[in-house]
Symmetry: C2
Subunit: 330 residues, 2 copies
DNA sequence: CGGTCTCAGGAAAGCGCTTACCTCAGGACT
DNA sequence: AGTCCTGAGGTAAGCGCTTTCCTGAGACCG
């Protein structure tokens, strides 16, 4: 492995000069030396050791991202936004999948901390369990204490910069739409009850129901397509009076559609997130859209621009109802 | 930012001792010192500087992954496999999106090289353009010359460890299926002609056609859903005699379905990759499955186990036809 | 009771790079 | 002619950690 010293020796200059030439420092250097050094670099296929550079410069260049799972379309979309902004700012992005495990999240915070990232963005870890949340909070504080910056996506224990999708409002939009259509027997398929995303969307749904003096039957699943399919099958068998299903994300809504097809039933279904698949299933899915890419972009922007004063900044992004063909009057 | 020296001072020991205790080195240490050091670590919230560790240990711990785009379901699936194996081996994974830009790929190889990764896995960059390919090859050699390991997924210029999905066979399977159904006027919607994936799948299709003494009409698109929709719309308008469409990936097949729905036509459609969405569109998509997660797992395994001798290892993974409802006799 | 082992712990030499500071010519000025 | 810049380059001190080698003190032996 060629080092700077090798290059310098090869070109017959000091490491200082070689370093300056390679990094294009403002210090003036004669053309001849520059050429010699550059030739040596090419010949030796020299690639600077990033770790040594980080250590010597002690500037933080990378940023970390902790999400549930990049393969999940929801987070893939968010990640896309995060990457766009980070790359535009010349940052290296380190992505970590937490699989919603608070323990793993803490490990990753430490790992990113150890790697001297300038900032960490965390998405999809709004835990309600206060033990896990406060330990996490602890780790985050330790990171921030060293000058690191943290931005979170979604409601979160940790006080600090955050971009908040308006999940409550989205839930309300979905509920109101169903009630306006004339549905009265509505079943909600929620995600894990420990996630704030679930809680907030559900709260909106309940607000809409209360407005109508109605109630909504809630069952919990796991935000996956198969989970949605299984629970819908059960629901259809157990409660034939339900006329509409509000799934708290599109994956489960797609599963619900599959279960209905299998059972030969046709209830109204509304999804959440408006993922690309929504327009390609039959019937095309009515859904509550959250601008996921934008969510990511704004979170990364927050994370990279140091706060003017120390005040935590909070940005809200609105939800929007996208009407398609999966909802109708009973 | 607390350093090892801070911890050592705080505990009243030398940095050597502190380091040994923190890293659990085999050197024996009295319980009392161990307790003091660990207490100091907790109190100062010490997190070791990973860059300094890398530099001092000069062992390579991370691995790099270069893919087209993690948000793309195809690569998301592959990445999942890569991560599983890497994490199981205690490696940090650095993911880079190349967006199929050879220039960016080279940058990323250098970047990963600079970060001293132990290995790089590259997926989805089988370029035919020989200039780009040979420059890439150059970069890879430079990396390998320093002891780094490279594994590629898919056919590739670079001679070395590779796992190859059997795209040609998959194309053949798709073609034969359509011909067996009795189709004669078949249109293929291919991806960019510069990718080996496109070329290989197409070759299989042609082999099936030749067997039948038939030919296939080929048009090129870009592997995206919208690209598939647009080109299918055009196709339907221009050539009413076509009875079957072979899309070279599922995204384009889904687009084709949408275009057909819009035009009120019902041709047979076969996709490729058997992505999760395939079973949820209507009609459910017949597709050629490639075990993507396994592809990733095997590539990472190859990358992490140094070759027994220096011989490049090649693993083939077979394609499989998944019958659903989008294909029928004309 | 002097000599040899063992063991706990420390001193210090790097790992590969950046950069503040220093040196040494050769002009420009007075 | 002597002083002072100014440019071009080198010297060396770290950055935070690991690890080799060394030291000093008991334990043990004959």
């Amino acid at each position: 492995m060629a080092t700077l010293a090798d290059v310098a020796r090869h070109a017959g200059v000091s490491t200082a000069t070689a370093s300056r030439i390679i990094n294009g420092s403002p210090k003036p250097v004669t053309e001849e030396l520059r050429a010699r050094v550059l030739a040596a670099v090419a010949e030796l296929r020299y690639v600077p050791n990033a770790h040594a550079q980080m250590l010597a410069r002690s500037n933080r260049n990378a940023v970390g991202v902790i999400v549930h799972d990049v393969s999940d379309p929801y987070f893939a979309e968010i990640t896309r936004g995060l990457q766009r902004v980070a790359t535009a700012n010349g940052r290296l992005v380190i992505i970590c999948n937490s699989f919603r495990d608070p323990g793993r999240e803490m490990e990753y915070i430490d790992l990113l901390h150890a790697h001297q990232v300038a900032a960490i963005v965390i998405a999809g870890s709004g835990y309600l369990d206060s033990t896990a949340a406060s330990e996490l909070d602890d780790r985050m504080r330790a990171f921030e204490a060293t000058g690191g910056r943290i931005a979170v996506i979604g409601r979160h224990q940790h006080p600090g910069d955050a971009v908040l999708p308006d999940n409550e409002e989205g839930g309300y939009l979905a509920g109101r739409h169903l009630f306006e259509l004339g549905h009265r027997a509505i079943a909600a398929i929620a995600g894990p009850p420990s996630l704030t995303t679930t809680v907030d969307r559900l709260a909106g749904l309940h607000r809409a129901a209360t407005e109508q003096g109605a109630t909504i039957h809630v069952t919990h699943s796991d935000f996956t397509r198969d989970g949605g399919e299984a629970i819908t099958a059960k629901l259809l068998a157990e409660d034939p009076s339900v006329t509409a299903i509000a799934a708290l994300n599109d994956s489960m809504a797609v599963g619900a559609l599959a279960a209905m097809r299998a059972a030969g039933r046709r209830l109204s279904v509304i999804g959440f997130d408006d993922m690309p698949i929504a327009r390609d299933v039959t019937p095309a899915l009515t859904s509550v859209r959250l601008p996921l890419t934008e969510l990511g972009e704004r979170a990364m922007t927050l994370a990279l621009d140091p706060a003017a004063d120390g005040t935590p900044r909070t940005e809200h992004v609105p939800a929007e109802l996208i009407l398609r063909e999966s909802t109708w009057s009973p």
